[in-house]
Point group: C2
Chain length 347, copies 2
């Protein structure tokens, strides 16, 4: 029997609860699908930092490299460790080290879920650049603490980095409804974003079957609320993708429903799957986090591992659950009850 | 009789139509309010660029400096001049040269307007930093045209710049419901945004009557859609403010309703008033642009000039118009019809 070795990184707060919930669903699915999943739980988190002075061991990246995939909960607990330290110590280095340059986030309403918009017939796939840009971590501060202090933060875009994410997005658009929206802010950011637009237009010739349109990030944020049904695939930089996918999560009913995959398309290193929501310290340990986003992320992991039928089973079980109203209304059902319902829908 | 000298900068596309509409309303209001408005029309625009090779004359900023205020339509027509050139040649230099560091954008539903959200009891005032940050225009490209090309764009934040916008926002919150949301992305941008957060927390002690909360931009975008009624004053950097205010425009029913003021709070130079929408070349000359955002911006100008009663008259006339359903549904009424209705509501 084929066995996949999965690194479980529950992380902080509700990350732990939803990762365990997702894992139960994935294990049961594997059992009925002719393969097996082996979990290695890694306790890297803000608590780990408080004990060890770092978010993960020095060889953390090397440890992760041997796995078939990584299932992550959420990282960050600002009351324990500043976010700027915890995220740059765990989540962001993994995305970069494993060249998980494509962060894929689907936005559509699950059956039975009512979103905040009056109109909700949309099906958007956001593709976010995941390794560079505004998240490069380059910058500094001078005259610290004085009236004259200046802080700078430099966004760095490489042709390789921009071209590969755009090609990836064009390919996705080709497999869906053939429409690609590329999001920049080239009217105000005349180096980075003009560069991105140029590469977009240069590549368009290679994908004559895809209709590509450039939007400014502000206009796109408005469009996701005013006319989400007009969108198919949306591609954006690291920061813009971050913003648009929380907005996508909002229109799909909330962060409890938003799944994501950090993909290394060349498969030269493991990919990582994680719900879009954060660690939500305020509701940690209460057993009320919605595990659906984590379970859906797990389905994306199965899909990536090539277990498409199993991934479809998980999605069907999620949809059967929300269609029955369970897990469909934020805050209504307990984590365990939603998980139990997904498990029973698996049959 | 007191006379205010106003520079009219209609700019491009529908900017021309809505500025003239707003001007008619403002003139009539002045006539019945005991002051007069004198317009000087300046043709600076993309057409001007095509004739003269620059968006405004070399002494453009000096020319503008002598006015009491500037009423602007919209700048940009990408088919004529790249946006990165037109905006950095006209709109952005004015905001910076005149230290219009506070960009104020109110988001609430006008009577009779149906927004895209199911729930719409919100009243948000966005305060956007308007002179630095991600719009600094600092950056460059190396190895241009090669596979090895790199583009960088540097966001620059000064303590002076951050502190003054935050103080301005705290003051606004104090005059409203006492709640301030400060928006950053300090979990990923560890220089600029951590700096902003530090200054926010440092200032909080000076405003014990204001409840200040920090949000990440992604979470705030979601919140504006999921729970806009929870927000009062929102303060953000240049880029984040840009994005959030288009989102604010969206939830208030569309860009046709979103007004803004670029304020120099020290009054050391003129302030500028402009609708949030752009030049919309696709509907230019058709006479179908909604002038409400421009008229509302004009009301903000009167307010800034100290003509509070006149500003209130304009707002009442706008509200009477949309309450009657005129101008309330995007695309339904012509510019002229909406303007005529506002004029008649003025009495
Ligand atoms: C936690 C944070 C650094 C992260 C990001 O901005 O990438 C998160 O918001 C996400 O979207 O995965
Ligand atoms: C046109 C553009 C440069 C401008 C901005 O981003 O500031 C506009 O979107 C706005 O919000 O006023």
């Amino acid at each position: 029997m084929k066995t996949y070795n999965i690194a479980l990184l529950p992380g902080d707060g509700i990350g732990r609860e939803v990762t365990e919930a997702a894992w139960t669903v994935l294990e049961k699915t594997a059992g009925s699908s002719g393969f097996s999943l082996e979990a290695t739980r890694l306790p890297w988190s803000c608590d780990y930092y408080l004990e060890n002075g770092s978010m993960m061991p020095a060889d953390g990246i090397e440890t992760l490299r041997s796995f078939d995939a990584i299932l992550l909960g959420a990282v960050g607990w600002p009351q324990k460790v500043p976010d700027s330290v915890s995220l740059h110590g765990l989540l962001l280095p993994i995305r970069k080290a494993f060249v998980q340059y494509a962060n894929i986030r689907p936005h559509r309403l699950l059956p039975g879920v009512q979103g905040p918009l009056r109109s909700d017939g949309f099906d958007i796939l956001c593709i976010r650049e995941n390794t560079e840009g505004e998240y490069s971590g380059a910058g500094g501060r001078v005259h610290q603490g004085t009236d004259n202090e200046v802080a700078i933060e430099t966004a760095i875009f490489t042709r390789t980095g921009v071209e590969r994410i755009l090609r990836f997005a064009f390919e996705q658009a080709r497999r869906r409804r053939g429409k690609l929206a590329s999001v920049t802010k080239s009217n105000a950011q005349k180096y980075s974003m003009v560069f991105w637009d140029e590469i977009t237009h240069g590549l368009a010739a290679d994908y004559p079957d895809v209709e590509v349109t450039s939007y400014h990030i502000d206009a796109m944020a408005a469009r996701m609320v005013m006319a989400p049904e007009s969108l198919d695939v949306v591609v954006a930089s690291n920061l813009f993708g971050d913003i648009l996918t929380d907005l996508g999560a909002a229109i799909q009913g909330g962060l409890g429903f938003a799944a994501s995959a950090n993909i290394n398309p060349d498969r030269s290193a493991p990919s990582m799957f994680e719900p879009v929501h954060g660690s939500a310290p305020d509701i940690a340990h209460l057993g009320i986090a919605n595990p659906i986003a984590a379970v859906w992320s797990g389905a994306m992991m199965l899909e990536h591992l090539g277990e498409t039928a199993a991934a479809e089973k998980v999605m069907a079980a999620i949809e059967a659950t929300t269609a029955r109203g369970i897990g469909a209304i934020p805050g209504k059902d307990k984590t365990d009850a939603i998980t139990a319902s997904v498990l029973s829908a698996l049959g």
